[in-house]
Structures are given as C-alpha cells and as structure tokens.
Symmetry: C2
Subunit: 454 residues, 2 copies
C-alpha cells in the first residue's frame, strides 16, 4: 500500500480553480491569458532566490488530465454541471510556458514563470505551480546560503525526518543538491534522483550496546571501508579517545577509520579538542563531521571561531527553511486577450503584461543589474533570462540533468556581487523597471481607476 | 503519470537506519528495543501540542516491507551484503506500538508514541515516524490555536499552494480539520478524507472581465446558490456596493447572495464598512469572509478591534506553522533487552524506560497535572493516555473516524486550563516526573557515567 499513489495531480488544486473554470466555460471565455509567478518581497536577511522546481512542474502540466476517479469525485460533490465534468474529461494543457531555468539566481518582482494559455488551462494549474515552485525554490535558496557559509567544506542534507511530509523531504534533497550540497541521508532521493547518499549511526546504536567501545567496534566490522563514528553520546573527548583505539585496531587489519561525527555541545571547542586527539594519534586523515541544529549562521560562527570541522550535516533548518518557511509568492493574471490587467488591492503590486528579465554584467563578469521589461521589448546587451520551455502543451527541450543545474547555480553564484551574498545584512541587487513597462503599468492603473473607482 | 507513486514508504528513511540494521544483523542483535517519540521543548509562545498523524503511521508500519525495486536499488549502492538484502526482503514489523490517540492534547517530554520491537524493526521506522507524526501534530497544534482565536467563527484551510509540497498540503487539510477547522480549499483532501471543500474566485477572475460588476454577475449565474464574491480587487467598499447590486439582481431571480470575501487592507475597518453597506441594503444574511496572511494573533487582534467578520480563511501561516515550522522532536532508544538506556549529550535529556502518562483532573473536569511514569507503575486516579494500537505487527482496533478525532480535540481543549490557552503568554502546564522514573533515570545516569566516563 502506497498512500501517495492517491495523489492525483489534477486534484492538487484549490476548489476555486474549478469554480472559476466552470464559470469561464459557462461564459464561453476561452481567450488566451498570461499568468506570472513571482516573489513579491525578500524575507528578512535575504537578497536573492535560486530557481528550482520547474522540471517537476513541466512534467505535471504536460501530463495534466482529469481521470475517471477524479471526475467521479467532482461530480459527486454536486457543485458542478454534467457539461463541466464532460469538459474537464477532455481538458489538456495546450499553452506555452516561459520560465527561468532551474538553478538561475533571481530577485523579487522577476517572473520565475509565465504561463500563456486559454484562461481555464492557465488558471487551473495555479495551485500546483505555486506549490511546486515555491517549495523547491525556497529550499534551493536556503541551501545556497548554507553552501556559501560552508566555504568549500562538504554539506550533507539530513533533513528528511523533519521536512513537512515525504514530498518535501524528496524536494529538499534534490533542491539542496542542486544548490551545491554533496549528498543526502535520504535513501529514496538517492533512488529517484541519483543523489549520493550518506549515513552512519544514531545515538541509539551506541546506547544499544553495553559499552560505547563495543558499538564502535561492531560498526567498523560491518563497514570497514566507510566507518564514521558518532562520538558524543556520553562525552565527546572520551568518545574521540575510543575512536582512536578503534582506528588502531582497524589499522592492524589494514583498514582506516574514515571519520567521526559530533552532534552536540560547543562544536567549535570540541572539534578542536577532537582534532588534537586524532592528530596526536597520527590520525590526520580522519575527518570531523558536525551536525546538530546547524544553519548558515551557525556554520559561519563556527568558522569564525576556528572550528576544526571538515564537513557539515544540515537538517531541520534547511529542510523547512526555518528562518523563512514561505515566500510571498503569487501567480497573477497579467494579461487577458491582449489586455493588460492588474488589481489595486493595497500593498500588492503586480507588473502587468508578458515580461522578460534582461541581466547585465560588468567587465569582470559580475552581475550589474537586471531590467524587468515587456516580453516584446528589444534590450541589446542584456541576457534574456526567461526561456520557452513548453510550447502548445509540449516540452520544448529535455530536462537538464542535475549536474548541469548544479553548475548553473555555481556559475550564477560566482557572478552574484559579494555584497549581496552577506548572510546577515546583504545588499539589495538592483532590478530596474523598463520605461515601457512603467508606462503600461501607469496607463493600466489609470484606466482601471477610472472605470472601477470613478 | 503520478510522480508520487514512486514514494516507496520503506525507502522514506535516512541511510543510517539501514547501516545500523546491517550491523545489528551482523552482530545477531535481535533483542527487543523500545523507542520513545516525544517533543523536548515548546516553541516560543506555545504551551501544548495536539497529537495527529498516528493513523497514517500505523498504516505505513503495518504494511512495511521492502519490495523488489527498493531491494534492487539498495543492492546497487554497493553498501550492503547480499545477506542483508535478503534479510530485508523478509523483514516485517512484528512489534507493538503504544501511542496517544489522535486528537489528544499533550505536553513536552510526554511520549506521543512508544515502539517496542526487535531493534532492527523499531529502529528502521524512525525516520518515517518522525516525518509523519511531527508534521501532522505541528499543523494540528497550530490550527487549534487558530480555532481558539476565531472564537466560534468558521475557519477554512486555504494553505495548499504554500504548504511544503503536496503531502504537506493533504496533511495540513486533515490536521486542521481535526483541530476544528470547518473545511478546506484542497480538493484532493476532500476526496481522500471526506473533508468539506470550499472555494469561489481569485482576483484573476475579476480582472479577466472588462468590469468587476460583470465578473460578479457571471459568477452568480454559474453558482446562484453559493455565490461568494471577492470584493477587494479594486476598492473594497466600492466592491461591496457592486455586490449589493448583484444581490438585488439575484433576489429578483429568487436567489440570495451568500457572502463576500475581503483579502487585503485594514480588515477590521473595511469589514465594518462592508457590514454597514450590506445591512443598509437589507442584506444582513450576507456573510463576510476574511483572508490574507491571517494567523491566530491577527485574528485575535481583528476580534479585539471589533471586526465584522463571520468566517476566516487561513493559509500560509497555518499550513507551514510559520511561527514554529518544526518541533524539537526526537525518537530515542529508552530500553534495550530490559536495560534502560540514555545518552548524556549536553542539553538533550531523554527519560529512560517504557512510560505511561497519567492525567489528573480537578472536580470541574479541568486538567490539573500530568504524571510521567514508568509503564508498569500503578497510578490510581489518573487517566492513562497511551493506548496500545499495534500488537505483534497488527492494528489492534480500527482507525477512528475524523469526526471522532475532532470531538477528542474539542473535549481536551475544553478541559485545558484557560491560562494555558493564552495565545501570547501561555502558562506552562505541570508535568510531574514520578519518583520511580526519577530513580531509574538517576541510577542509569550513574551507571553510564561510571562505565563510560570513569
């Protein structure tokens, strides 16, 4: 029994997507609509986002259809006419999608995705689009900060147990890997995405043996080529001495202890103490892995405090993006039948029309500024970031392999200005609004005010 | 194509569960172990938890098995012996589970779940147990606060788009419903769990029409018996006037406008203004629904400010438990082969042994205090909270229907002392540790210190 096989993608939707669709059908409204998905504002201390989730969204949209069970359920609610249920049975996504490729760095107000399709199709995938793209971009953005803080040391995803469900656990493993993590503890992510998997032992393993030393020996017997010992169950420095003893016993068998893990206490001081114990025993090759409520700020503090840590395992804080567990992300209608549209609701500006983002670089190749433009504007010298990924309901090019997406993140991160990477007080990156877009926004606002408020 | 059907429950695990299992197999360690799942500490401003997720966990554990694909993947990693892979193929959960029924209110340090089984079985379900029980308890606990703040007004779950993935969206709908929400926008949750579904229109619907008034009329045509109009797209009070116009047109057809929704601006002031406009038009029956970044504190503030709101829709802040997106939750070995065990890692106390929680009430039926005891202690006059739910790998009684769980939450919440319900500065509820448990904890600590640190 697999409870997740009940998750029919076409019902991963808010009911209003369907009530609106029913009304559009009734009114014969089939005109092309463009919706834009973007993040309105930065969470505190944040200054950039990393695009992720697009490939999953494309897979879902290009295969979108209402199957028998789902149609039966909708009919059973009594909310819809038979005409509408029959219409849903034939509904496919036939539109086009322009989007930032996964792994690109982007900024507030810039569309991550623009969907152009007959309005029912473009509207009905709203909930799915936000659900998929927010989570993966949220995690990739958090993970990029952690990779930056780790300053070249390995970081491993340990988040599965505290992610919000199993779907989130999988997405966290993938999104953190594409942002530069070395691997994950998540076995299913290893299977589905081909991400390297890591893991050794829990405190329960150590305590299940009569003595810590016995547990270390037993683990070395089972995994002589990849022994990493968790040494803080009772006392970290005493644990390190026992690890040395086991390392010597392993050496007598021609094997080498790979590493030790610290999971509690003052990691900066303890890691230096452990390093000294290991080095004094000639075990300079044994790596020290640290875990335990880590995030990018703690990792930076550990580095500043001269911790002797070779690799970090990061769980909860990355897996739920604890400091910013959601983005102010929206999927907004910006154009219907070539008419730019907007709402005036206070404090929630949407830039009208189909758009493109053009990025400019300085002569060292660093990002200089982005220009948010109308899609049909010419903008010489800028790199257009949104690419067409779906046309007439079909994928335009194959999904990029994860390794290519990792390289994209790395490339964009190198080009991001250093001041924007600061973990606590980052500088804002400039996003300029093109004069044509500003004009259209103002004209549209004036028109709407005149017609609706006048 | 359903991407979630790839989610094999047996691989929803951290790799270390499998490496430990491989070592236990190698060492012939098949003794009974008891693991205890509990929350160490309250997030800021919190004072109680609501148990949820147990039924899902029972379903997964009682059906737990490694299938062909999963075994092939594990074999392909090169990390495991053929003996171990063959062992996994035969592995079933044969142990017992004692747990708090879903819907019970509980407190820090109290076990939500105790699993007793041969150590490999009890260990291998760790990741799944934490993943499932944390999320649903997290959301139910948050939702109970929101229901309390709403003071008898309806609350509807609008969180699906911003939950962490689709699994979380489903769980949020179920957990908030059992905590007292009226329903959800989540169509799939309606299908899977039978939760009432709600939804009307987005701003995009309004803006897709040339004029707001036309959009209201079109919606009333499609759903004349359940018309709720979103009136803040351009100007809330002007939107209310248009709603009045549509309500009059509907009345001429023998239909009644059901409600209006406000999604932005100063909801307290605007809702009173809208109420006045509706009442002046004789539309006293038309309900006002409010949404837009609501949580329990904003709802309380709205009530304090005299808002005229009949129902609340709550999304993101509930769906990701934004103020506390994770619990400090752990699944710890507390006993192996009748030997109580613990770790000494700083700041992370675990109470040893198999336990029971006994709850005492005052003569008004209000909760007085809980006693955390050893499972075999007599404790006359207390209500034992943990119940056996799985014995020898089989479910002991059928899953409770959602309605029964809702009543449990309601019952426990009525009995919770008022001071513990305070939304900003709640009082701590007393959880006493029994003398026998304290003794055993101290003896075990002394023994471990002597043997491991001496």
């Amino acid at each position: 029994m697999n409870p997740w096989s009940q998750f029919a993608p076409e019902l991963v939707t808010d009911l209003y997507e369907l009530t609106m669709a029913a009304s559009y059908l009734r009114e014969d409204m089939f005109g092309d609509a463009t919706f834009s998905l973007f993040i309105r504002a930065y969470p505190p201390g944040r200054s950039y986002f990393v695009a992720a989730g697009l490939e999953h969204f494309i897979d879902l949209v290009t295969a979108f259809r209402f199957e028998g069970d789902s149609l039966q359920f909708l009919a059973s609610t009594g909310k819809f006419t038979t005409d509408f249920i029959e219409f849903l049975a034939t509904l496919r996504f036939t539109g086009s999608i322009r989007a930032l490729p996964e792994g690109r760095i982007f900024f507030a107000d810039e569309p991550l995705l623009e969907v152009t399709a007959p309005i029912i199709e473009a509207q009905i995938v709203e909930t799915l689009a936000i659900n998929v793209l927010q989570l993966e971009s949220l995690i990739a953005s958090k993970a990029a900060r952690i990779v930056h803080a780790a300053h070249g040391r390995s970081v491993i995803d340990f988040s599965l147990r505290r992610t919000h469900g199993v779907d989130a656990g999988l997405k966290a493993a993938r999104a953190s890997y594409l942002a530069g993590f070395t691997g994950t503890s998540n076995v299913l992510a290893g299977k589905i995405y081909g991400i390297p998997i890591f893991g050794t032992m829990a405190h329960s393993y150590v305590t299940s043996f009569e003595h810590e030393l016995e547990s270390f020996r037993a683990f070395a017997r089972a995994f002589p080529d990849s022994t990493v010992l968790l040494i803080d169950t009772y006392d970290t420095l005493k644990g390190a001495l026992k690890a040395v003893q086991v390392a010597r016993e392993m050496a007598a068998e021609g094997k080498a202890l790979r590493g030790v893990r610290l999971d509690s206490g003052d990691l900066a001081t303890l890691s230096r103490g452990v390093r000294r114990i290991l080095d004094d025993a000639g075990l300079n090759h044994v790596e020290i892995l640290a875990s335990g409520s880590l995030d990018e700020l703690k990792i930076q503090d550990l580095r500043d405090a001269g911790a002797a840590i070779d690799a970090y395992a990061v769980g909860t804080h990355m897996g739920v993006s604890a400091d910013a567990p959601y983005f102010d992300i929206a999927y907004k209608l910006v154009e219907y039948e070539d008419r730019p549209v907007l709402k005036l609701s206070s404090g929630k500006r949407t830039w009208v029309g189909r758009k493109q983002v053009f990025r400019h670089y300085d002569d060292q190749g660093k990002m200089l500024e982005d220009h948010l433009c109308l899609a049909d504007e010419e903008h010489p010298g800028g790199e257009g970031l949104l690419e067409e990924v779906v046309r007439k309901g079909k994928r335009v090019k194959p999904a990029a392999p994860l390794q290519a997406i990792r390289q994209r993140v790395e490339g964009d991160f190198q080009r991001l200005p250093e001041a924007c990477k600061h973990l606590r007080e980052p500088q804002r990156y400039p996003v300029r609004i093109s004069p044509s877009l500003q004009d259209l926004e103002e004209q549209t606002t004036r028109k709407v005010r005149r017609e609706e408020l006048g």
